[in-house]
C-alpha cells in the first residue's frame, strides 16, 4: 500500500504532498494536533474521500481511478476500520457483528476463532450494551479483521478507554500487524500507546514527519 503526493485543501491546504508506504506486518502510529489533517488522511486512506491530488496504490492499482462500487468492495474486503467509540451495531450480538461483514463479502472467516483469540469467546451471544468499553473495542478489532484485509485503519481507538483497556486494544492491533501480517495505521492522541508501533509519524504542516 502506497500513498503518493497526496494534496488536499478545504479553505486552506491541509495535506501538502503526503507520501507513505506501509509494508505488510508493519504497525504505524500517526500523531498530530487537532486540525492537522489526521481525519482527512484517514478518510483518504479509507477510500472515503478523494484527494485534490495524489494517488493511493493498492496492489499497484490507483484506487481513485476505480468507481465507487469498486472502492466499496475494496473497503469491505481489504480495509478494516476501528473507530473511536467502537460503533458496533447495537442490536446485533458480538458474533452477528462479524457475520454482518462476512455476509456482505461472502467470506468464510472463523469468527469464533478470531473472537477466541481476542479473549471474547465467552461473549459471542452478548449485545454491545452488555460489554465493557474495552470488550466493545476488541469486538471492533475482530470486525476489522474478519475479512482478512490488507490494511487496518484505527481512528483514536483508545480515546474512550482507560489506560489498561486502551493498552490491550493497542496490543491487539500491533498483534494483527506482527502475527497476522497486516498493515496497521493507528491515529492517536495518546502518546503512551505508541511504543507498540514500529514507526511513529507526526502530521505537521500537511506533511508526515518521522519521529
Amino acid at each position: 500500500m502506497k500513498l503518493s503526493g497526496i494534496y488536499h485543501a478545504y479553505e486552506q491546504p491541509i495535506l501538502s504532498g503526503v507520501d507513505l508506504s506501509v509494508a505488510p506486518g508493519e504497525c504505524i502510529g500517526i500523531i498530530g494536533p487537532s486540525g492537522s489533517g489526521k481525519s482527512t488522511l484517514l478518510q483518504i486512506l479509507g477510500l472515503l474521500k478523494r484527494p485534490n491530488a495524489g494517488s493511493l496504490f493498492f496492489d499497484s492499482v490507483d484506487v481513485f481511478t476505480l468507481d465507487e462500487e469498486a472502492r466499496r468492495k475494496l473497503r469491505l474486503n481489504e480495509i478494516g476500520f476501528v473507530f473511536q467509540d467502537a460503533h458496533l451495531v447495537p442490536y446485533l450480538t458480538v458474533r452477528e457483528q462479524l457475520e454482518l461483514v462476512q455476509g456482505e463479502s461472502e467470506t468464510e472467516g472463523d469468527a469464533i476463532g478470531l473472537l477466541t483469540d481476542l479473549g471474547l469467546r465467552h461473549r459471542v451471544t452478548e449485545l454491545p450494551e452488555r460489554l465493557s468499553g474495552g470488550e466493545r473495542q476488541r469486538v471492533a478489532v475482530a470486525r476489522a479483521l474478519i475479512n482478512d484485509p490488507q490494511l487496518i485503519l484505527a481512528d483514536e481507538p483508545t480515546a474512550s478507554l482507560d489506560f489498561v483497556n486502551g493498552r490491550l486494544v493497542m496490543e491487539r492491533l500491533a498483534d494483527a500487524a506482527h502475527n497476522r501480517n497486516k498493515r496497521v495505521l493507528v491515529i492517536t492522541h495518546d502518546e503512551r500507546m505508541l511504543d507498540v508501533c514500529d514507526r511513529v509519524l507526526r502530521l505537521r504542516d500537511g506533511q508526515l514527519i518521522a519521529i
Binding site: 484517514l42 478518510q43 473497503r75 451495531v89 442490536y91 454482518l100
Partner: protein, 334 residues
Amino acid sequence: MTLGLKEMWRKRRQFGLILFITLAIVLLTTLITGLADGLAYDNGATVRELDVDTFHLTADADGQLTRSFIEGTPNAAMTPLAVKPLTFVKGSKQDATLFALPKDSTIGPALNLSVGEVLVDPSFLETYAIGDTVEDFASGYRFTITGVTDGRFSHGPVVWTTMETWNAYQKAAGGPSYVSAWLGDGDPPLTKYSKQDIIESVPGYSAEQGTFTMMRAFLLVIGAFILTAFFYMVTLQKLPQLGILKAIGIRSQTIGVALISQVLVTVVMASLVATFVTLLATQIVPDTVRFKFELTNMTLYSALFVIISVLGTVLPLQTLRRLDAADALGGRIK
C-alpha cells in the same frame, strides 16, 4: 432483511409502539371500510346480487329504478323487473321496496310463489311474521308473507314477488301497467345502464360511498405520513451507525432492504391484525349498525396501505443514499 428483523426483535419496545400506532390507523381504515361496505350492502345488495349486467330504463329515470316507468314489451327475449317502494300495514307500518321478476326467472331468488305471495328480508320480520297478510297502505292490496330471502335496497328491506302478483297489485292500485326495467342484452328504445350505474344511482349511495372513500383516502395518506415520519426519525437517529456501516463497506442496498422490510413487516402485521379485529367486529356491532366484512375490500385497502407505506420509505432511503460515509471517520455524523 434479517438485519431489519433482528433490529425489530431486539428493539421490541420502540417498534411495538410504531406497530401499535400503525395498527390504530389501519384498524380505523378497515372499520370504516366495514361500515362503508355495510351501508353499500344496505343500499344496493338486491341489485348487486341480480344475475344480470345490463339494465334498460327510461331516459328520464337517471338510472333510478323507482323512477322508471316502461309500458309495453320492448323485447320478448329480455326479462322485466318491477321495483316500487311501498308502505305495508298490519297494525304497524313498515316501509319496504317491492321487487318483482317473472316466476321462472333465474336472475333473482327462486320465486315459487302463488299470486299475492311474497318473500321478505329477515329484517321485515322484526315487524311481521311468516304467514302474516300485510296490506299496501296506498292501494289496499294484500300480500301474504310465505318465506324469507335476503334483500336490501335504499336502506330498507326488500319484498320479492312474481310479475303475476305485480300485475295483480297494479290492477288493484288502478294505475297504468308498467315495469321499471328490462334486463339483459338487447337494443330497446331505452337507456342502457350497467349494474354498477344502477347501484350508484340509488339515492344517497354515491354521496355515502364518496364520503367513506374520502375518509379512507385521508386515512391512507395520513397513515403513510405518520409511518414515514416514524421511520425517517428512526433513520435520523441511526445516521452515525449507518454511516459507519457504509464506511466499512456494507452496501446501501443491504441497509435499505432492512428498512423496507421493517416497514413491510409493520404494515402487514398491522393489516392482518386489523382485518382480524374487523372480522370480530362483525360479531360485536349491533344489528342496527350496518357493518359488513368484505374480504376483497379489506385486502384492497390493506394492500394500498402497504404500497403507500413502502413509497413512504423513499424519504429515509434518500437520506441514507445521501449519507456521506466519510463523515463516519472523525465522528462528524450527528
